[in-house]
């Protein structure tokens, strides 16, 4: 219930009161032999309590680095991080070692590949209890009890026995469930899910997403869902931030973004996704070209070289500005970008005929 209220309050008006994480002008540059790689270059966004925010973009667009930089997980050097990331009144970037009290306690992270994200040398028990002991001050025994409860909650059969096994004795989907249990067992306020389903089979993906969604509603946890899979965003997130070449190019609510994309890149992403009700020989429209080299970004808009709508103004860098109520974009176009060819609305393209999940939270509102 609280979740729904928070969700409906996600309009601009009530933002100021309910902001959990306020990222302002975050940068993360890496010094390399090839020059300075601007992996994250001035990113600003907010996460409200209890909401789920999607961050989408291609590989190398800076989605993961944004979150790692925020949590102090980028090694410096070679990385250099500046800007602000204010979590519940504290700037994470200025906490120094004190960020460890927030990492894993108030902000938890699930990583992409559960095969490599769990320590193969330690039992699940040790890996789960260490966080609980550290952050909640539980004894090993109490921590273990709680860990078993959580394993049960995420659907691990026979958790009392399996907790003493090693990661290699679990399947990929089960490992990701363990990761989720591990991340949520300290009941964090924010969960960063970094491509949590990318390494999993499609059938398992749906289960894992459903599990994250259910637990999010139950605990009222805010979620940052980092993904390149627009379907995941459509099913899980209320608001979406689209990243390209280390910057945010568009921000909107999920229905707005999918129904009415405002940035040519977003439109390109949507038209390059297959639709379930299309005939097999229907052609996808890919975004031409390659993502830019982050060490040698083009002048002006980084997307311009691949953009069908680019014009002379694009040699200046567009700023991320309010475009419509609750929406921001970084583009010089006066109106909306043109679709590469007449097709159904992007929203239809993406969801196909049997979409169900995306509208569920809205239906649940009182």
């Amino acid at each position: 219930m609280t979740f729904v209220e928070r969700r409906t309050s996600s309009g601009r008006l009530e933002r100021s009161t309910d902001i959990l994480l306020d990222v302002r002008d975050l940068h993360c540059h890496f010094k390399t032999d090839d020059g300075i790689v601007k992996a994250v270059d001035g990113v600003t966004f907010q996460v409200l309590r209890g909401e789920s925010l999607g961050i989408v973009g291609e590989s190398g667009s800076g989605k993961t680095v944004t979150n790692m930089a925020m949590m102090g997980l980028v090694p410096t050097p070679p990385g250099k991080v500046w800007g602000e990331a204010i979590f519940d009144g504290q700037d994470l970037l200025r906490l120094g070692d004190g960020i460890r009290k927030i990492r894993g306690r108030r902000v938890a992270t699930i990583f992409q590949d559960p095969m490599t994200s769990l320590n193969p040398f330690l039992r699940i028990e040790r890996q789960m209890t260490e966080g609980l002991q550290l952050h909640l001050g539980l004894s090993r025994g109490d921590a273990r009890k709680r860990a078993v409860e959580w394993l049960e909650k995420v659907g691990i059969p026979n958790p009392g026995k399996r907790i003493f096994q090693y990661p290699h004795e679990f399947s990929g989907g089960m490992r990701q469930r363990v990761m989720i249990a591990m991340a949520l067992s300290t009941e964090p306020e924010l969960l960063i899910a970094d491509e949590p389903t990318t390494a999993l089979d499609v059938t398992i993906q749906a289960q894992i997403l459903e599990l994250i969604g259910d637990l999010q509603r139950e605990l009222g946890t805010a979620v940052i869902m980092i993904t390149h899979d627009l379907g995941v965003v459509a099913g899980m997130c209320e608001r979406v931030v689209v990243m390209y070449a280390g910057r945010i190019v568009e921000e909107a609510t999920a229905p707005d973004l999918f129904g009415d994309p405002a940035h040519p890149y977003t439109l390109g992403l949507l038209t390059s996704v297959p639709r379930l009700d299309e005939t097999v020989d229907a052609r996808l429209i890919p975004i031409e070209g390659q993502p830019p080299n982050l060490a040698h970004l083009p002048e002006g808009c980084a997307f311009a070289p691949r953009c069908a709508s680019s014009f002379d103004r694009c040699s200046d860098e567009p700023r991320l500005e309010d475009w419509a109520p609750g929406r921001r974009r970084a583009c010089w176009l006066a109106g909306k970008p043109e679709a590469p060819r007449p097709v159904g609305t992007a929203s239809e393209r993406l969801r196909g005929p049997d979409e169900t999940d995306a509208t569920k939270p809205a239906e649940a509102s009182p």
Binding site: R100, S117, P120, F121, L122, E130, L134
Partner: protein
């Protein structure tokens, strides 16, 4: 686990039989013999001596006889060169000394090697990293017949902390142990550093950090086990080598160990002693490798024993 160890131990005799056979015949193939260096020995006396040691019999008879003595009585035979001494006596006298020295050298090598490697990996590209790794390269490349005398000069002659040589008091073991252990410490340091750097770059270390664990816990609990695997593999042959003794170190410090017998028996064509020392080395090597495999399995739960 126990079954695995038993099975490996059952394989030990087979390995040793092959080892003894090859050594036995290789030694005989080498030109010369135990008494060929003795000058001006009348042929009758030479024949007498050879008869005493059964060298006049055909080779396969000698081999059969040797094998029978070793297997049934554990008798490695008389030494051809050390008068009135059996090979068993020589080994019983030298091996404990070599073990003591090797054990100390191993402790030195592991302690210094692992800590230097871990610190170097944590502070990658720092002055400690460059410094310790340069010292490690030196430690590996400078032969111990140079390191030993330098240590003696500094610590025994100049500062007079230790005795120049000898094997009487406990502190006599320090310089030889360092001399023997230094190249191993260097090797272990480099292996540890490389192993740790590889592990620290893994995703699960990022997970551990994301949990808010202190860096010390991340390193000790999450990284060390995996990072030390290459070191453990190296310790099998490494420890065996240290345990069985070193000619050079024993010579420099006048230590009555087994290492010198290794080389001298071969040079003297002291057939029985060659066989005996090789056999001892073989047993140590097999046992060490078994221990290493067991430890490896303990460190890495993905390894199965079947």
């Amino acid at each position: 686990m126990l079954r695995y160890i038993l099975r490996r131990l059952l394989g030990l005799p087979v390995v040793l039989l092959i080892l003894v056979t090859i050594t036995f015949f290789l030694a005989r193939v080498a030109p010369g013999g135990p008494f060929s260096a003795d000058k001006n020995v009348p042929p009758e006396i030479k024949a007498n001596i050879e008869a005493k040691y059964h060298l006049d019999k055909p080779l396969h008879v000698q081999y059969g006889r040797y094998l029978r003595d070793v297997v049934t009585r554990g008798d490695l035979g008389p030494s051809f060169k050390h008068k009135d001494q059996t090979v068993n006596e020589i080994i019983e006298r030298g091996l404990p000394v070599s073990f003591q020295l090797g054990f100390l050298a191993a402790i030195f090598a592991v302690t210094f090697g692992v800590s230097a490697g871990v610190i170097a990996s944590i502070r990658q590209n720092s002055w400690f990293d460059y410094g310790s790794m340069s010292v490690a390269v030196l430690g590996m490349t400078i032969p111990n017949f140079v390191v030993g005398p330098i240590l003696v000069l500094l610590f025994a002659r100049y500062w007079k902390v230790f005795n120049v040589a000898g094997w009487e008091e406990l502190k006599d073991m320090v310089l030889p142990a360092i001399t023997l252990g230094l190249p191993f410490a260097a090797r272990i340091a480099r292996l540890t550093r490389a192993g740790m750097l590889e592990i620290v770059g893994q995703d699960f270390i990022r997970t551990a950090r994301a949990k808010g664990l202190a860096e010390r816990v991340v390193i000790v609990r999450h990284a060390l086990k995996g990072g030390l695997l290459p070191v453990v593999s190296f310790l099998g042959p490494g420890l065996s080598y240290m345990m069985v003794g070193s000619l050079v170190v024993e010579r420099i410090f006048r230590i009555p160990g087994l290492g010198q017998e290794f080389i001298e028996s071969a040079l003297n064509r002291d057939y029985t002693l060659v066989n005996g020392t090789v056999l001892v080395y073989g047993v140590i090597l097999v046992v060490m490798n078994l221990i290493v495999d067991v430890v490896y399995g303990y460190l890495d739960p993905r390894i199965r024993y079947d």
